[in-house]
Structures are given as C-alpha cells and as structure tokens.
Symmetry: C2
Amino acid sequence: MTGAPTPATLARLADVVGPSHALTDPAAQLPYLTEWRGLWPGHSPMVLRPASADEVSRLLALAHETGTAIVPQSGNTGLAAGQMPDVAGTEVVLSLDRMSKVRNVDAAGNSLTAEAGVTIKAVQDAAAAVDRLFPLSLASEGSARLGGVLSTNAGGVNVLAYGTARQLCLGLEVVLADGRIWSGLRSLRKDNTGYDLKELFLGAEGTLGIITAAVVKLFPRPLRCDTAFVAVPDPRAAVDLLARAQSATGNRLVAFEFLPRLGLEFLIRHMAGRDPLSAPSPWYVLCEAADAPEGSLETLIGLAIERGLATDAVIAQSAAQRAALWSLRENLSESQKFEGGSIKHDVSVPVSKVPEFIAEAEAAVARFLPGARPFPFGHLGDGNVHFNVSQPPGMDKTAYTDMWEAMNEVVFGIVLKHGGSISAEHGIGRLKRHWMSRIKSPVELDLMRGLKHLLDPKGILNPHKVLPE
Amino acid sequence: MTGAPTPATLARLADVVGPSHALTDPAAQLPYLTEWRGLWPGHSPMVLRPASADEVSRLLALAHETGTAIVPQSGNTGLAAGQMPDVAGTEVVLSLDRMSKVRNVDAAGNSLTAEAGVTIKAVQDAAAAVDRLFPLSLASEGSARLGGVLSTNAGGVNVLAYGTARQLCLGLEVVLADGRIWSGLRSLRKDNTGYDLKELFLGAEGTLGIITAAVVKLFPRPLRCDTAFVAVPDPRAAVDLLARAQSATGNRLVAFEFLPRLGLEFLIRHMAGRDPLSAPSPWYVLCEAADAPEGSLETLIGLAIERGLATDAVIAQSAAQRAALWSLRENLSESQKFEGGSIKHDVSVPVSKVPEFIAEAEAAVARFLPGARPFPFGHLGDGNVHFNVSQPPGMDKTAYTDMWEAMNEVVFGIVLKHGGSISAEHGIGRLKRHWMSRIKSPVELDLMRGLKHLLDPKGILNPHKVLPE
C-alpha cells in the first residue's frame, strides 16, 4: 500500500529533477490536474517533470523505496481519467512532457525512435519530412503524446488499415516500478527470442511500468486518396458495403466511418455543417481508400446503389472537398455539446454484429428513457461504435447525466451479449474500473493481478486504475 | 522440478483421453518423436492426444498435481526443437492433432475461429471457401498447425503486408499450467479492457500455457498479383528498390524476397531450375504486389534499371510463370542439401542494415573458414536473412557441421552488433536456448523468469526450453 509522501520524500524526489521541474504551486500544477471533460478532478503534492529515462529511473527507485504512488502522465488527453491523480492528493504526478525528442528517423527501414513525451503531431511531421507516414491519427493528436498513446493502445481513424498503437510499436524503453530500466528499443520487424515483453506495457495504462521511449513503424505515404460520403439505408447495408469496399479497393480502405442522420442534423444546426447530399438519409458512411485501383470506389458505389446498399453518394473531387467531408466526421462529438448532456459509450462488437447491436441498444435506450436520442457513430470498419446518447430535449442536464451509470448498464448489457468490449479504444482508467470484475472471468482477473504484483509489488504505479480493488 | 511420471500417473493421464489416444507403442509414437531435420531425438513415456480443451484441462491439472513435464506439440514442423521431448524420456508429449475443427468462419467480420490442431492449409482453404484470405503462408503449411504457428509467432513470406502470426491473432483459448481454462476467444478488432493476455501466450513456445483454440483475422482476397524477378547489383540496391517499390505500389508489396547468385546456381544444378534472365547477376529479388496500381511494377523496374538499382527483370505474364518464379524461392533450402552440410542462421537486423550485415558476415565467414559458401536469402522486406552457409566443396560433412556453434558465434556476433535478432522467426526452443543469457539483459531475463514462475510455478510446461537454466 502507498501513503501520502512525507516532506522529506518530496524533497528527495524534487532533487532528482531540480526545483524548477518539481511543481507544487497550484497555478503551475493546474494543466496537469485538469482533464478536458472536467469530470475527474485530481490533487497532487507535486508534479515531477523528468528530462531523461535516467531521471525517471531514479524517481521510481525512490518511490519504490518510500511507497510513494506515482501517476504517469503524457499529453493529459485520456478519456478514462487514467492520467489523473486521486482527489485525496497523495499521488505524485510524473509528467513526460519534457522528454519530447525524436531521436532517429530511419526512412529506409520505415521506423522512428522517439521519447515518450513527443506529441503525435510531431511524430507525424518527422515522418512526413522523410516522405513517410505515421498513420496513427486522432482528434487530440496535437496534444496527445507518444507514451500515453502507447500506454492506452490508442486507436483513431486509420486502425482499419494500419492497426492500433500496439501494432504500430516495434520497441520500447520502460522504467520498471523499482527503477530498473528495460531497454527494448529494437527496430526489428521480426524477433522471436523469448517472451515479447513490450506487449506487457502496451495498453497497460502505466500500471506495470513507465514507457520512456519507443520505436514505431512508418509507412510509405499514399500517392492518392479517394474519399466518399455515402447515404446508406441502414447499418446492415453499411456492413455489407464495408466488405464489398474492402474487396473492390484491393484491401486499400484506410477509413470506414459511419454516422446517423441525427449527427448530420446537429452539424447543420450548430457547426455550420452542410449536407453534401440532396435528400436526407437515415445513415451515412464516410469512407476513404488509399492508392486503390483508379475508379474502383466509383464503380463500387454505382453497384451498391443498384443493389440498394446505398441511395446516394458524393466523391471528393479536391483536397478542399475531402477536408469538408472529414470535418463532418471530426465535428460530431463537438456538435453534441449544443444539445445538452451526452452519455458516452466507447464500445466494440464483432463487425458483423454492429447492426444487431445498434438496433437492440436503440430500442433499449428508448425503453429506458423515452426521448433520449441515440447518436451512434464511429469506426464501423473496426466494429467500434461511439454509442453516445444525447438527452431528451428540455430535460435538466444534470438530472440526465446523473443517469450515466444506469444508462451504461443498459447499453453495456447488450455489448456483452454480443461478445463485445465496453472500452474499445479509450481504456479503463478510473472511469470503467468498477466494471472489470463484471466483465472479466475470475481466471482473467487472477492473471491480471498476478502480472500487476509481479511488475509492481508495492502497487506504486498508477494505483486504483484498471484493476478492480 | 519435474520428474519421470509413475505408472500410476501415466494410467490416470491415459484415462482422460482413453487408451487408444495415449500412445506408448514406439511405432505409434514415432511421428511425434522425430523432427524433420533429424537433429533432435526425443523419447517419451506417453504421447497424449486429447480431443477437447476440457481434456487438455484435466491433463494439465493432473500434470500440475503430480509434477509431470508436458511437451505440447502441434504439427511437429518446428525448426528449434521446441516441440520435442528430451532424450531422457521423462516428458509426456501432448499433441493437439485431434483438435482440428474450424468452428466458425465470419466472412463479413473477416475472422475465423478454429481449434489449435487445424493445419494452416485447412485454415487457408476455409477462408478461400468464403472468398477470403488467411495470409500466413510458409513451406510447411500442409503440416504446420495453428497452435504451433501462434505459439512460435511464425512468419513466412507475407509478413511484409500482413504481419506475423501474432498480428494475425484476435483471440485465444488457453489452458493454464494448473488446468484452468482462460477463455479469450474474442473476435474484436479493438478491446482496451485491461491487460491483453493473449500477447503473453503468443510466441511463448508452449512454456506459459497451451493454446487450444484461436480466432484469426481474414482479409479480402487480392484481385490481381504482380510478380517480378529482378536482377540487382548488390544488397544495398535491393534495399533501395524495396523502399521505392513500397511507395510505387501504394504500399501493396506482399513479398520482397532475395537470393544470391549461388542460390540460382544450386537450383539450376540440382532442382531443374531455369535462370529466368539471360545474364548472371550477383543478387536477385523476387517481389510481389497485390492490387497495386496497374503497371506500377513495370514503371518502377524501368526507373530502377535507369538508376542502376536493377540490371534486368522479368514480370510474370501468367499464373504458370508466377508459379515458376516462386518455385525458385521455395526450393532454395532444398537445393542446399545437394551441396553437403549447411550451417543455418535465421536472423534479422533493421532493414536498412541488411547490406552491412551481409558484407560483414560474408567477410567474417571467409576468414573463419576459407571456402565456406555463404548463401544468404530470405525475407528482405522484414530484414530477415536466412544466412545459411554451405560447406567448402570436398570437406567432410560431419567435420563441417561440427563447426555449427563456432560458425554461429561468428555470424551472431555481427547480428548483435547491428541490433539484430538471432532468431527472427523460428524461435528459441532447445536449439538456441544457451544463447539467451548472452543476448538478453539481466532485467529482461528476470522479467521472463518472473512470467514463467507466475504462469507455471511448478515448471511443468515445456521444460528446458526458451529460458536459460
């Protein structure tokens, strides 16, 4: 068990990084203790900003010795509050934001080595500078940092073609709970020499070790993108269209996102959105293919319309049109804010089960709270639905968001029935921790606890996160 | 520690599977105790052939209780003897060959669920039957079985586009050392709910648990393949050509294999091979793109010849020509058998380091044993070189193969200098186990031992493999 660090411990920790990088002033701490939704306040006696893996190592050795709880933080953009200390103010925040160097870009080898505190945008830019693509892309990429993205196994819009953060990682450097450094900064495409330790730390949300640097994969930059916005009658047609689009484009789909009519209405109402099509449709798909056979997307859409899988479509004819179509997708979350409270579910089911899931969840929500407005959108190609639910018009917002847990019960029940996940890409953090003992078998929880005890026997790394008490 | 099982223990184990599936007769055991190179003899008091995860569970519970060593075996095609019991005859073999059902094929969801004993060929066929591709492909695919391929994180010729076995796996069912079953047969593309346990068992060579079933990814079948056999002046030109080919084909390269002139000479001499080109070249590349932009491979090769990266090339104009080009690649290993002993190194380095590695290793081999003939070929796109070395002509074969370890020293030293792996795709097994304490840091070995102890506290699963004593 960990406890509040003594003044002497705090002084020793501050010594490692130097006083100017051990923040105790509330104003200086503020950016590290405020998460963007404002739902999860945290307090901390000290925010530490080490400059190197060696400093992280010395900090953790001290924390291990003194039983000091450490909350690793990267870009502070997490959506499950995994990066926030508790409200009691006993946990020390360890920010990686000063460790932001890109150390090496190997264009011929398609890999890039960087410290954990580099932003995703900076990684993308460093790749682009040598005519390569780092495909991980998400709304927060200007702020999100590499260590956090790897620790949460982040997804984003290009998972369909390039995989999640886990699949993009070739090697890691990790500081263990006792301060030892595991140097696994390999850039090999294949290495079958014993257990692949990096897999332990990817997606572990900083509870098993602190990622201080990584090697990630780069890819050739696409020569051409085809982007289409397609009206589809229902989610079943969208799933059929997905399979046909994967075949027709020679498996070159890089994004296959969907949204409901309500989404387009919110965009038009609040975000100066414009309907790209002439008649309303109950559902839409935004799909993009990179370097697909010329004309394959047009041909596909023509066939889809003939077969009733689509009713209308527009294909971007310029970069500006492409950007306009993507802005519809990117503004969806924001548009909901103007319609009162939104209860969110970042869930996944097998791709082929998405239509049943949506139909059943919409019906269940209607029974649970008549007038509530399901707003399911997201990464259909991955089976990842952001099943957000906007409040009934006119209802008190707080009264609505007070129903968060009860609404989760309704939606997650259907997710689990279809073999789905209650956290497809955002992680568990603090937000969904209480669900773990309900969604995991005793065997699985036992294995997880065993790993936690093996790697962090004193429980100092990101306590009270991920695992149930 | 484990010991020789008593007759009573053997009788209890046999009871679980029934007497006809508990093999003690030497003739019946033979196929399970002979590995194809004939280098690693093994003996066993009993070969068990369970029919279900439940039977595997009961067998392991018994083994755990009695301290009986269990060697899991799948297709018995492993190249590191990980599937072989020891010579003392104290280890019981557990074959998964009766568990060979494909349970479910989800074409819309691009996934397939099968038992561990299904052959790779059967998985490929089941995928093809619904117009999908299971891309894992290796020479032994008719015999290799899914559980073994996942347990060794096998590679093959399509890793460049589709990844290794690890990346192709969505979910696992695993029987733990104490007999408990972990049911992780998920088919989700995204699931960030706690530690991703399947990653522990993938590539662990049966030392942490026994995989009894898996969900794997399927892909759309390519509509068109372009295959070229290209003469290149040296490995540096081949690496340059690789990067250009990835860009020019819109990242649609699915294979990029290379071989030396000596390889083509052996093929012509012993395998009725025919030189597809009119003049000899020191090196060759066999590259294949799936659904690349029409004509892109021709254009690329034209440019490459202009720039001196290639000197000649042939592009397959028919399925028969494509098959003929691939047969050159597939017969390479076999062709070496006619030239006496071959000392093998399945190694990888970062792709951009392949040229330096080959030059240095060839020079070092020439110093070590003048007349020895380096025969480096393989998966250039993955940085994976099968750095085989054929014996000097006329030398006694046994005298040559007695130099196996000494030659390994020479070659692996250069691999390690370049940050490479001494086992890119074959695993550690028994073959390379003695190298582990030399290639891994104390921290890494400590973590591996910790995992082994956590998951198999009595050390009954595939003892004396992977980890150093």
